[in-house]
């Protein structure tokens, strides 16, 4: 029992380091919980959501103090996000655990590919911008 708790804390710690560096620790914590600890997909998602909150509160306060948050018009993002987040949560709770796991797998693969090739995508957009700019001149 104690060994399992320590291992869980180590697992959380690794995900936390990535999360603190802004790399989305949840993408590591959720599969780690399902693969190594036999937690079901929805249970792992519940843990990830709750575990994210304390760090996010502290980080957000620091960012607000440093005036890095663009609050102008932000409700236009937050309100649809809240509505869809509620819908998404109830949807996840209503489908089978296996289907949820498969869809989560697809989501991870897409995110990983974006992270691996994100720089190339960025370069593509920047080149496009430069080309548009030179065309205008």
């Amino acid at each position: 029992m104690i060994v399992k708790m320590v291992l869980l804390a180590v697992c959380g710690f690794s995900a936390g380091v990535l999360g603190g560096m802004g790399m989305g620790g949840g993408a590591l914590l959720i599969p780690a919980l399902t693969i190594f600890f036999g937690v079901d997909q929805i249970g792992a998602q519940a843990v990830n959501l709750v575990a994210f909150i304390p760090m996010a509160v502290v980080s957000l306060i620091i960012h607000l103090k440093n005036k890095r948050v663009k609050t102008q018009g932000l409700l236009w993002v937050i309100l649809p996000a809240l509505f869809c987040s509620l819908s998404g949560s109830f949807f996840a709770l209503s489908i089978s655990g296996t289907l949820l796991k498969r869809l989560f797998g697809a989501f991870l693969v897409i995110l990983a590919l974006f992270q691996l090739f994100g720089n190339k995508i960025e370069e593509f957009f920047q080149n496009k911008k430069v080309n548009n700019h030179s065309q205008k001149i």
């Binding site: 869980l8 804390a9 959380g12 710690f13 690794s14 995900a15 936390g16 990535l18 603190g20 560096m21 993408a27 914590l29 959720i30 599969p31 919980l33 399902t34 693969i35 997909q41 929805i42 998602q45 519940a46 843990v47 990830n48 959501l49 709750v50 575990a51 994210f52 909150i53 760090m55 996010a56 980080s59 957000l60 960012h63 890095r68 948050v69 663009k70 018009g73 932000l74 236009w76 993002v77 937050i78 649809p80 996000a81 809240l82 869809c84 987040s85 509620l86 998404g88 949560s89 709770l93 989560f104 797998g105 697809a106 989501f107 991870l108 693969v109 990983a112 974006f114 992270q115 691996l116």
Partner: protein, 122 residues
């Protein structure tokens, strides 16, 4: 971010996609909202990262409540993980800027890819 109808629509789309992903997958909202804020809403990377939190925190809170009251949060698993995540988060925030994250991102992406394929097919 401005006031035109088109920009408001872009903001609403950004919010909707982020909320849907974060609620349905129990996380990952940051990895959706940051690129959308940069490419769709034309925000600078630094303010996108900070502003993303102001979006993800409220939606994570509301989703966490839904999962929690549906009895999906197991304290025996959740509490030790949470303690680890907070500790790791402090170290990660401290390491940020001190350490080149480039190779770490590559390794992390590969782990994600493997975990993703495993969840998808096994």
């Amino acid at each position: 971010m401005g006031d035109s109808v088109k920009e408001k629509a872009y903001m609403a789309i950004t919010g909707a996609l982020t909320g849907l992903a974060n609620g349905f997958f129990g996380g990952g909202g940051g990895m959706v909202v940051v690129p959308l804020m940069i490419y769709l809403l034309k925000m600078k990377t630094k303010s996108a990262h900070a502003t993303a939190l102001a979006v993800i925190l409220p939606i994570t809170l509301i989703s966490a409540l839904v999962y929690f009251f549906s009895g999906k949060f197991d304290f025996k698993i959740g509490v030790p993980s949470l303690v680890g995540v907070v500790g790791g988060g402090i170290l990660g925030a401290w390491l940020l800027g001190k350490l080149s994250a480039n190779w770490l991102t590559k390794i992390f992406s590969l782990v994600m890819l493997i975990a993703g394929v495993k969840a998808l097919v096994l």
